[in-house]
Structures are given as structure tokens and as C-alpha cells.
Symmetry: C2
Subunit: 208 residues, 2 copies
């Protein structure tokens, strides 16, 4: 196939530019939704922050609801990338210690942040589970993926003999998911990372 | 002191009527906030639902924020009344079983309800902790009171020998508060009471 190099370059540039705008809209949306909630945020605020006309928003997203569902997936990918980096900094041969280390690093990050944004999945879960089935499904999928990934590391720790074997890795991951989300919520309400620290200490010292 | 009986009766009636309207506004607000969130609800919807003019709202509450803080306290009182009734239905001489029974009854109530409203303290905590210091303080106080009350029953269970003694009642109440709030959040996201059931089973069978 003959490729017109100028047109190819132009299209590549345009694709990259579009991806860049889409990414910036998602980042701005995540930021606004974290601070003001879904219903407290207008599309206009987001496009103004990014500096694009309101009409172009609809080139990327079919509705505010579709936008929020994409933010949930975007956030989950970023969260997992960050968490994995921390996990890899932990000891290679001790899965439980690496898990603990990665959550301790996450807590430090929350502590350093001025805004106690918490977890966007938990926040939107509380606000719009009842009103948006599209977003509820996206949140349910993301939480399931996190639990499955977490359970794999717990399973390794069980094989290494550092985690109890009378409860399955899936059940341990499941309860940890609830207590971590609940602790993030309490971090917001108490404006302190202490509930997160107590959660990690009690779960890793006394439960796992 | 001389009391004018007619004026006394008139004032008593008016006070009762005012309390009645205040209560109905709080109930309607709780309902709307649970379904649509704080920012998704307008004062007009609430006064229309109760059937009072918008102006009279401000006889009872100085602002929407003040209204929300009062709803949080109103909800907490109602929740505690309901929970205590269930607790008293449980066995007198076994505090742990009575605690478990009361939470199992709460789960049934959530199951029967069409709307997975969850906990208004958790929901508003996720939505407006960053934007309203007044509401954040009200939520923090309410969660503290719940934990203290719960810890008293755990302490009795520890004295009865049914709960482990290597973790203090306060710490057990603290982690339970996080995991219960997290499970309520997951009930909303998963549109199922299963996360609540797994929380109660794992906490009462394997942790306490």
C-alpha cells in the first residue's frame, strides 16, 4: 500500500494530539470529581480548565456519565501502575512484606497531599451508584480486578508460609478491599491518615 | 407566675407543629440525599416534597450545609435507636451474639430495601468532606459516638470470654467501623448485600 508520508505524519500528529486532549480531560475530571463530587462538577469547568471548547468534549465522550465511567477506568489503571511500582520496591522473596510496604507508601502519599481525595471509586460509588448503572458497572469491574490481583499476591504469601491458610486468598482479598475502602472514607471524614495506618497495622499484624 | 391557658395551648401546638415540619424536612432531605447525593439535590425539591414554602425552610435551617449537618445527627439518632432495638432482641448473657444478631438484622433490612442507600454518613463523607467543614465535623462526631458505643459491648464480650483479649475493645471497634462502612459502600457498587454478609461472617468467625 502506498503511504503518503505527509498525510501519514499529519494523521499521527492529530491522533497523538487527540489522545493528549482526551487524557487531559480525564485528568481534569478526576481532579474536579475528587474535590467537588460528580453532581457538584459541570462539564464547562472541565473544558475551561483544559482550555478546549465545550463542543470538542463530545468528540471524546458521549455524555457526562460516559466521561465518569472512563475516569473510573483511567484512575484504576493509574492506581495500579503506581501501586505496582511500590510493590516492586518491596522484598522479592516475601510477598506479604511487599504488600504491606506498597500500602504504607500509598498512605505516605495521601499524607503528603493537601486534599484528602481518597479513592475516586469509593467516592463515586457513594454518590452515584443509585443514579448511574453505567458507572456502577465500571466501579464493580474495577474493584473485582483489584481484588483478583491482590488475591494472587496473598496466595503467594500463603505458599511462603507468612499468611494463614484457614481463610482463602480470595476471602482475605475481599475483606481487605472493604476495610481499605472504609479506611479511605474515614480518612476523608477525620481529615487524617490515622485510620489507614490502623487498618494496615491491624490487618497485617493480627489478621493475615 | 400567671399562665394564660389559651396562649399556652396555642404556643404548645405551634411548637409541636414546628417540630413536626422540621422532622419532615429532615426525613425528606435524608431520602433525597441518599438517592441523589448532596450536590444533586436542591432545597426546592425538599420543600416541595414536604409541601411547605421555600422561605419557611430558613426558619429551621440557616443554610443547606446546616441542614445536611442536622440530617447527619438526625440519621445517627434513628440508626442507633433501630440498632439498639435489634440488639435487645439478642441473647442477654452473650454480648458478641447480640452484636452479631443486630448486624444481621440490619443486613436483612438493606436486602429488603429497593434502594441501596447505604450509610448517609459514609455517602456524604465521600461527597462533601472536602467542601464542608461543618458537615465533616458532624460526621466525625457521629462515627466517634458509634465506635464508643460499639466498644462498650465488645468490652463486655471480652469479659464474657467470647472475644480475643490481645486487641483492645477500642481497636476492634475501630477496625469494625472501617470494614462495615467499606462493606456498605461495596453493597452500593455491587448492588448486593453479599459484601455485608461476608464482612460479618469473617469478622465474627475469624477475627473477634
Amino acid at each position: 500500500m502506498f503511504i503518503d508520508e505527509r498525510s501519514y505524519n499529519y494523521n499521527m500528529k492529530r491522533t497523538r494530539r487527540n489522545e493528549h486532549i482526551r487524557e487531559r480531560l480525564l485528568d481534569a475530571g478526576l481532579d474536579f470529581f475528587s474535590k467537588q463530587g460528580y453532581n457538584g462538577t459541570g462539564i464547562k469547568e472541565i473544558v475551561d480548565a483544559v482550555g478546549v471548547p465545550k463542543g470538542s468534549f463530545y468528540n471524546y465522550f458521549s455524555s457526562k456519565e460516559d466521561f465518569a465511567a472512563n475516569i473510573i477506568r483511567h484512575y484504576a489503571e493509574g492506581y495500579w501502575r503506581e501501586w505496582s511500582t511500590y510493590f516492586l520496591e518491596g522484598p522479592d522473596d516475601d510477598s506479604l512484606s511487599a504488600l504491606r510496604y506498597s500500602f504504607e507508601r500509598m498512605i505516605e502519599k495521601h499524607k503528603e497531599s493537601d486534599v484528602k481525595a481518597g479513592c475516586i471509586v469509593g467516592n463515586l460509588g457513594a454518590e452515584i451508584s443509585e443514579s448511574s448503572e453505567i458507572c456502577r458497572n465500571a466501579m464493580q469491574t474495577v474493584l473485582k480486578e483489584w481484588r483478583e490481583r491482590f488475591a494472587k499476591y496473598v496466595l503467594i504469601a500463603q505458599a511462603q508460609g507468612t499468611v494463614r491458610n484457614d481463610i482463602s486468598a480470595e476471602e482475605l482479598a475481599d475483606i481487605f478491599c472493604s476495610v481499605w475502602e472504609g479506611s479511605l472514607l474515614r480518612m476523608k471524614i477525620e481529615n487524617s491518615t490515622d485510620p489507614l495506618k490502623r487498618c494496615i497495622n491491624l490487618m497485617f499484624d493480627k489478621f493475615f
